[in-house]
Structures are given as structure tokens and as C-alpha cells.
């Protein structure tokens, strides 16, 4: 399976994501520069964490206009798997590929620590290898990670089983404890915690690997 890791100016989790899928899962992985207009036959796209374009204006607000995002939108529309982690999640909501927004943490602080998230659905290509309710301990590292959407959107996400991860102990004020959501077609997912930072035994935990493993499993089943 060929993963593409998009590199924006200011991305800083791109190498970790690349390492998780290539070294830890033995898949092909390559970097895709933000100026690329073509994804060249990738099977899945990772929008990594970091501070794309310095997070100027809002997290993800400038990245959404980059040439690569037009390609990612076409890729998502054709059913391709897209995962956005942290800043990647912010880019996905700014781009309209996922609903809602990520706003300043309720406590105003940048939070960088491991949190427990509960797998809220296994009916997705990003969690199909997980057990229902599986707890994943992964770090969060964000100042703007408070998930916000209007009541109707939140109800819709829940009714359609599109909340993929919830915080066990909400660190940032996210509405309905949401840590990750799916697109309506379930092929686009955004999450604030960093599964790539818990993908190697040296990191003390391999909890996050199940997210990437699920993507491999889902692709193999296609």
C-alpha cells in the first residue's frame, strides 16, 4: 500500500507519520510537497501535524488554499483514504472535507501530554482493526483542539456514527468529548491525538499503530 505524507511549510510530524507507516507497518510511504497538484496514484494520504504556514490567521486556514489540497479534495471525492492528524485535522475542517471547527482550548493553554481516547466506532477504515471501545493512549499537542460544531451538526455526526474517537477525560473543552470524526462517506478522518507518536515500541507504546493498521486492512479488503 502506498501512503503519501503531505509536507507543508511548518509541518513537523511528517517524518513521524512516514516512519510509522514505513518502518512500523512495512508499507510504502513517500512525501508529497504542498505545491504538488497531483497525488500520482497513492492509496492513502496523511495530513500530518505541525504548524502549516505558521498557523497564521487560523490553524489550517492558509493550507487549505495550497495546490496539494485541491488534489486531496479530488482524491477524497473519488473515495481515497485521507487522515488528518492534529494540524491535519484543522486543515480538513478548514477545507470543508470535515464539518465543524477547531477552536482555542477552553483553558487557553497549549496542551502537550498523553490522553486516553475511546474508539467510538469500528465501522471505519481507520478503526476497523480496533476493538469496539478500545482505549488508545496517544499524546495531544495543540492550542486549538477544542472541537466545535453547531448542535444540528453534532446530532448528525452521532446519528450517522461518525464520531470515531472520544476523550476519556476531555482536556480541551471539545463538544461531546469529540477527539476525531469521519466524513459522511467515511473515507476522510480527522483526529487531534497523535497516533504516529505511539507507533514504535521505543516510544513506550504502540497504541496508535491500530489506526494505520486499520487503513492497511481496509485497503486490502477493497
Amino acid at each position: 500500500m502506498r501512503f503519501g505524507v503531505v509536507v507543508f511549510p511548518g509541518s513537523n510530524c511528517d517524518h513521524d507519520a512516514w516512519y510509522a507507516v514505513s518502518h512500523n507497518l512495512g508499507q510504502q510511504a513517500e512525501y508529497v510537497w504542498h505545491g504538488s497538484e497531483d497525488l500520482g496514484g497513492l492509496d492513502a494520504v496523511i495530513l500530518p501535524g505541525g504548524f502549516s504556514y505558521g498557523d497564521y490567521l487560523r490553524g489550517g486556514a492558509i493550507a487549505k488554499f495550497s495546490p496539494v489540497m485541491a488534489a486531496v479534495k479530488r482524491f477524497a471525492a473519488s473515495g481515497g483514504l485521507v487522515i488528518g492528524i492534529c494540524n491535519g485535522f484543522q486543515i480538513l475542517v478548514e477545507s470543508g472535507l470535515l464539518p465543524g471547527a477547531l477552536i482555542t482550548n477552553r483553558g487557553l493553554k497549549f496542551i502537550c501530554r498523553p490522553v486516553d481516547v475511546i474508539t467510538a466506532t469500528v465501522n471505519s477504515p481507520f478503526t476497523c482493526a480496533a476493538r469496539p471501545g478500545q482505549v488508545i493512549r496517544a499524546p495531544i499537542a495543540h492550542a486549538e483542539g477544542c472541537y466545535y460544531a453547531d448542535e444540528r451538526t453534532l446530532d448528525e455526526l452521532e446519528a450517522e456514527d461518525r464520531v470515531v474517537f472520544r476523550y476519556a477525560d476531555n482536556p480541551n473543552g471539545s463538544l461531546r468529548d469529540i477527539a476525531g470524526i469521519l466524513s459522511r462517506e467515511r473515507n476522510v478522518m480527522g483526529m487531534m491525538p497523535h497516533p504516529e507518536r505511539t507507533s514504535d515500541p521505543l516510544m513506550g507504546s504502540t497504541d496508535g499503530l491500530v489506526v494505520f493498521q486499520s487503513m492497511v486492512t481496509a485497503m486490502a479488503a477493497k
Binding site: L57, R58, A61, F65, V93, E94, P99, G100, A101, I103, T104, N105, R106, G107, L108, C146, Y148, A149, D150, G173
Partner: protein, 81 residues
């Protein structure tokens, strides 16, 4: 010519920075202040040759598509000579 764009969080969206500033003002004894909302302000310089009607349309579009995120924010545009 200049345009000003004011962007602020919708009233329904929590503004923890505004709340913190409000609490500080109360602490300073400004008891008459009932709420504070923090926002952003953009001052944009424009080529004076631009047609005013087209200009307003452009600035509105820039405010909606770039400067504000309509999911959480609202904006106001002012055109100055």
C-alpha cells in the same frame, strides 16, 4: 483606498480569551463591563482605480473565504476612501 474587516467569534462560540480579559477587568475594578469578546482586525490597502461596487464584492468574498471561518466567526466590512 482602504478596507477594514472585523472578524469575531459568533455569540454561540465560547471565547475563553474574552472571558479571561473580562475577569481581569473586573479584578481591576471595572465593574460596569458585562462582557468582552476578542476578535481580529484587518486593514487592507487597495488600488484606488478599483470600481467601488466590484471592490465591496471582492472584500466581502475575501472576508468570507479567507479572513473568517464562517463555521465559528462572523465578519463586518468597512470601506474607507
Amino acid at each position: 483606498m482602504r478596507a477594514r474587516v472585523y472578524v469575531s467569534l459568533k455569540p454561540t462560540v465560547l471565547d475563553p480569551q474574552g472571558k479571561t480579559i473580562h475577569a481581569a477587568l473586573k479584578g481591576l475594578g471595572y465593574t460596569a463591563i458585562s462582557d468582552v469578546r476578542q476578535g481580529k482586525f484587518f486593514e487592507i490597502r487597495i488600488d484606488p482605480q478599483t470600481d467601488p461596487a466590484a471592490l465591496r464584492k471582492q472584500i466581502e468574498q475575501i472576508a468570507r473565504d479567507v479572513l473568517a471561518n464562517p463555521v465559528i466567526e462572523e465578519y463586518r466590512v468597512e470601506l474607507l476612501d
